[in-house]
Symmetry: C3
Subunit: 312 residues, 3 copies
Amino acid sequence: MPLLNTHLVSVAQLRRTDLDRIFAVADRCLPIARGEETSDLLRGRLLANLFFEPSTRTRLSFGAAFMRLGGAVETTVGMQFSSMAKGETLEDTIRVIDGYADIMVLRHPDEGSAARAAAVSQHPIINGGDGPGEHPTQALLDLYAIAKERGSVDGVKVALIGDLKHGRTVHSLSRLLACFEGVELILTSPPSLAMPDKVLADLDAAGLRYRLVPTLADALAAADVAYVTRIQAERFDDPVAAARLISGFVVNLELLESIGRTDITILHPLPRYNDLSTDVDHLPGAAYFRQSHLGVPVRMAIFCEILGKELA
Amino acid sequence: MPLLNTHLVSVAQLRRTDLDRIFAVADRCLPIARGEETSDLLRGRLLANLFFEPSTRTRLSFGAAFMRLGGAVETTVGMQFSSMAKGETLEDTIRVIDGYADIMVLRHPDEGSAARAAAVSQHPIINGGDGPGEHPTQALLDLYAIAKERGSVDGVKVALIGDLKHGRTVHSLSRLLACFEGVELILTSPPSLAMPDKVLADLDAAGLRYRLVPTLADALAAADVAYVTRIQAERFDDPVAAARLISGFVVNLELLESIGRTDITILHPLPRYNDLSTDVDHLPGAAYFRQSHLGVPVRMAIFCEILGKELA
Amino acid sequence: MPLLNTHLVSVAQLRRTDLDRIFAVADRCLPIARGEETSDLLRGRLLANLFFEPSTRTRLSFGAAFMRLGGAVETTVGMQFSSMAKGETLEDTIRVIDGYADIMVLRHPDEGSAARAAAVSQHPIINGGDGPGEHPTQALLDLYAIAKERGSVDGVKVALIGDLKHGRTVHSLSRLLACFEGVELILTSPPSLAMPDKVLADLDAAGLRYRLVPTLADALAAADVAYVTRIQAERFDDPVAAARLISGFVVNLELLESIGRTDITILHPLPRYNDLSTDVDHLPGAAYFRQSHLGVPVRMAIFCEILGKELA
């Protein structure tokens, strides 16, 4: 169990063997995640689900994972009710809660907050999103969804679509995809929202093939999986130009039909707004809700590995 | 189990046999609801208690019902922290949480929201109040309170008092009372807040006897049960006229003594403000707190019926 | 079990024998509080953790105590979502929730609120802080921390430092210290924030020795335990004078080294801001985080005693 008693702060901690193991454990957790089986594996364990930046779905997903395994969960949402609002440091807050719980999930708006928490905590910290930093369990569930939808991650062609500059999920996902064999990334975004050079350099170093394509249609035509993300109009100075640019990166049925790719696997970290049309929801490859559900077994697997608990 | 795996969206789904069954199960749940017995019936089951419109007492009542039966509960309160605040549809939110939980209670400010949620959810949805729409478990607990306080619902004379125009609880309760034999409704309200014709037409169709009486004293004199509701001053244009009108529909000790009806059973959906005086709290028929407590066994019964679980 | 089925509203209810018993039970709860052992003692019991005034750490501490003993917890945070925001009385709110739970923790901004709740509740109420009133479990955990850090409370010299006028924790702690033998209090504060005469009169009546010393250095030099509290600049009219005054009551490494007292035991109710420097965190006597963690076994002991449950 390489994750035993460790903090999970960054995807950089994870090797291919870790991923294979997490997904194998997640497979065994699936019937429990779906409520088809029950488990008492974490009976007596207490999770502090600390969402100083609110995120209902991520919070409920971590909570469901822990409770379905028989554990108990304490929750805090938002910062306005916390001592941090009055000036207490994150470190002091964590040192106190460290004495209440066996493990903590931390979501916080500041990049680096999870690492700061991990530096002072005796109990394991799981990064549930540290602002523009990382959200490692989201990347893991994205990867797990690719594996479940396509049979394997090795050899898959993934189009990353939308705001590739600010999207922490696409950065983390790209880095994890580099752990697999024969993966190809197809990147498409407005020019001003392209994947950062720093991430591309890491992909080069890891030997992951990628190519930039200018249009969404070209990207979808070449991909097995379309990973769609949101483009925020606020990122642009000119709202009229922004609306036109963004409209070029919307995945909808008309586009998929026009290029003959209604068979493509569609993923999305959700929530979606205008970036992914509901008129594709009926397609067999529209996998984004199944993807979101896979967050539960993946997080169950993380809890089991870190707490050293093995399902029978 | 006619409710097995169904959504509970409206009281219109319920027949007399359903009500009899729910109340029989609620009777068996009573000692568990009161903490006199413990139960593991829902061990391993997970409720998502989704209060996008806050309502502390209803949320805690559903939660207590589920936890007392051994289940686990995840909670969200308010909309400001949810993706819906940023524009995600209710349908998408429900489709995601559907993958976390075995059953959902939904409270939401929009009429029809529970039906919309039910249309996309694989797991059962219980309507915990959809704005001006319905709040079926409140009507069920009101009815159950009448049965417990009076021995039976059949043959009871119920005065509905206050704002009969906007009060969703009195609409739903009236419709359920129509399932019983020999019930008589006595309606009293300010003229501008009378029971809507649509509801009266339904009562006519169902063969429920009702009559409108102009004064509170007349209504109380004739009734076994006084069901008091709040009149909001904001409903009127003229605040001075409003205050005078509202004062005519306040139940207090002086009035009950003046008409010799300190024996009447008093119900109220709570919270009360000025509509029901605390000087009647000591009367043996002041049943509103007992009524609120009966929400727990009634909701336990609903959970058991929908999830197909039977108490030994 | 002298606390069986009682409300815990004030430290004035507690005698030395009660304190000895609570701490003995807390000792037996310690391995459960730390997650080294699990317990089902409160299986089937339901706590309503009612934080109408938010306090994340106190709420999580009570919740952890109850959950670690196998109980279930319902929570409400803040007042804006409650019927009280719309004008319902605290008494009505408590009467309703009384029917859901086996025991309630109440935190509320109004002094006397816990006593008002206790007056109408069938189930035990624990005061989790009633504004400027009391916070008895904080005083108990402070005392327990002194016992654990110093071996015994009897004979200990405790310096109370900072705002002794408004700090409810120092008032309650002083009164509990009067239950022990040979304790000496050393009081140091800005002149305008001195310990109230009412509290001093109670200490005189109880025969507790105390003395006022003008400087922090003198207080620290004479004490076994430094109990540091915060001074709020808002308490003063003149911000410049306030800053200078407050700076005279900051405990930091330079000061402790200058008087040769780096061996002193340091406690703090937390959160700290500028009143206690992080440069003392590495000292062996820097006990404030251990102190905060002891809130869990102390609250476990309170729950056990009130609910009449005994650990094997």
